[in-house]
């Protein structure tokens, strides 16, 4: 089986491109180390072999690894962390529903519960003027204290889960969208079967492990320089073949 050096050059070229894409993925992970509810993304490389022709590697897909992040306490009663499976639903400006695990909410001027980007949380209930001390139970029951000092239930929050949460589309701003790969959204009460529970005064950290990402960065950089070295050498070999006939 004869092989062309140009084909070999192409293996290294494809390899370099894949690693540069992986560098983007890793940079994005490192940038989001402190983003609440953020999930690390992994590059999935796959071997390319076509009819016994070795074609190197291809970055087949990127995949969000949806393991639980650690939970930290906060001083805000509107910081709601999800322990377990599920996403909060928020309404995006164009009316579509986005999903997020970042449960750091606030009250806007119109008394809507909104996330950091100002997108309103989808929930069943309303907050009246003068209400304070808004808090959530582990099963999603929201209570508040009104102007007269009476604490009562004002609504409920539900969570949404997907068969393959790693396949949700990243819409930026820590918002995910339903996709063909994620499967159909299922809505349920927090704490019911397969849904996580909520806890107020808590924030879910990103599940990015800084040490692991840095290690990945190092191996990535070394792998990249190896492909560059292979590329240069194949190039030298082609040059040598061209210069076979001395002037």
């Amino acid at each position: 089986m004869a092989s062309s050096l140009f084909q070999t050059l192409n293996i290294s070229r494809q390899d370099i491109i894949s690693h540069l894409l992986d560098l983007d993925v890793t940079s994005s992970n490192l940038a989001n180390v402190n983003t609440a509810g953020y999930k690390t993304t992994r590059s999935n490389f796959q071997e390319m072999l076509n009819e016994q022709m070795k074609e190197g590697t291809l970055l087949r897909s990127t995949q969000a690894i949806t393991t639980q992040g650690t939970i930290r306490t906060s001083t805000n009663s509107l910081d709601w962390a999800i322990q377990g499976e599920g996403y909060f639903s928020v309404t995006l400006p164009d009316g579509t529903i986005g999903y997020t695990r970042d449960g750091q909410f606030a009250l806007d001027a119109d008394l809507n519960l909104v996330n950091a980007s100002g997108y309103p949380l989808v929930w069943d209930g309303t907050i009246e003027e003068g209400m304070t001390n808004i808090s959530v139970s582990s099963t999603g029951v929201v209570t508040a204290t009104d102007a007269e000092g009476v604490t009562a239930e004002v609504g409920t929050v539900q969570l949404t889960r997907f068969p393959n949460p790693g396949g949700l589309t990243d819409n930026g701003n820590n918002i995910l969208l339903e996709s063909d790969i994620s499967g159909v959204a299922q809505t349920g009460d927090p704490g019911s079967e397969n849904f996580g529970t909520l806890s107020g005064y808590h924030v879910e950290n990103s599940n990015i492990d800084l040490a692991q990402e840095m290690t990945h960065l190092i191996t990535l950089q070394r792998a990249l320089s190896m492909s560059l070295r292979a590329f240069q050498q194949t190039d030298t070999m082609i040059a040598e073949a061209i210069n076979l006939r001395k002037a």
């Binding site: 062309s4 995949q63 068969p163």
Partner: protein, 252 residues
């Protein structure tokens, strides 16, 4: 003279093929479950040069021995050695400690793989990153109910504590002889296991490429220099040939 030219060129062709295999191994250094491809080199045909004395009337022919006519690429084989294990904590990342292959269903038939990057697709099937369905011990696709997945050492999958399926695992006594490397990271082999080793599945771990970077770099240098040497030899032969044509038989 011409023989030497072709011998040298055969070494260049052979090294170009090796370069491709090395580049392929380098490219897949971060591919989980990847098994490096090893190349072998063997001598090309042998010739038996004869010696005759300068006297044209002489009919005595003496064989001087064997003359190699260069090298060629030999049998290519896959190194099935264990790769380094890396912890990912992702419940659907599986790896084998020791012998064993997962069974997956592709449009071209069942294949074996050591690449345990599995995921749950939109229809709750257990699939590989390429979207192929992972098969159970009865050769059927695995459907996962909602819930938390755990995989035991023997490949038994439980979701929320309830048994769902057992992974179809192929164990081969001699993978190098029984399996063929057909598509990317997939192997074709006998329908049933031939080995009696007990496979050990580990969850939350991936097995990485078994290619060794320092070995790869050494091979790269070796191939590069060997190619260069062969190229110099071709030029040498060419020079000698040129001299022969130009000066031999020139009178005065």
């Amino acid at each position: 003279m011409i023989k030497g030219l072709y011998s040298a060129v055969s070494a260049m062709v052979m090294n170009a093929t090796r370069q491709q295999a090395i580049s392929h191994n380098i490219a897949n250094i971060q591919t989980p479950g990847f098994k490096q491809v090893l190349t072998t080199v063997q001598g090309f045909m042998q010739d038996q040069p004869v010696y005759t004395s300068g006297n044209l009337q002489s009919t005595i022919i003496e064989y001087v021995g064997n003359l190699g006519l260069g090298s060629q690429i030999g049998q290519e084989y896959v190194d099935y050695g264990q790769g380094a294990m890396q912890k990912t904590d992702n419940p659907l990342d599986l790896a084998f400690q020791g012998n064993g292959f997962f069974t997956v269903q592709t449009p071209d038939g069942n294949r074996y793989t050591r690449d345990g990057r599995f995921l749950r697709d939109a229809e709750n099937n257990l699939v590989t990153v390429d979207g192929y369905q992972v098969l159970d011990d009865a050769g059927q696709p695995i459907q996962l109910p909602d819930g938390e997945i755990s995989v035991a050492y023997d490949g038994a999958i439980t979701v929320n504590g309830e048994a769902v399926a057992t992974l179809g695992i192929g164990v081969f006594a001699d993978p190098a002889a029984e399996l063929q490397h057909t598509e990317g990271n997939l192997f074709t082999g006998p329908a049933a296991s031939t080995g009696d080793e007990v496979p050990q599945v580990v969850q939350g771990v991936l097995e990485f490429s078994n290619a060794n970077p320092s070995q790869l770099m050494t091979q790269l240098v070796e191939v590069g220099r060997s190619y260069e040497a062969a190229q110099k030899l071709v030029q040498n032969q060419d020079e000698l040939l040129g001299k022969t044509i130009a000066s031999l038989g020139r009178i005065g």
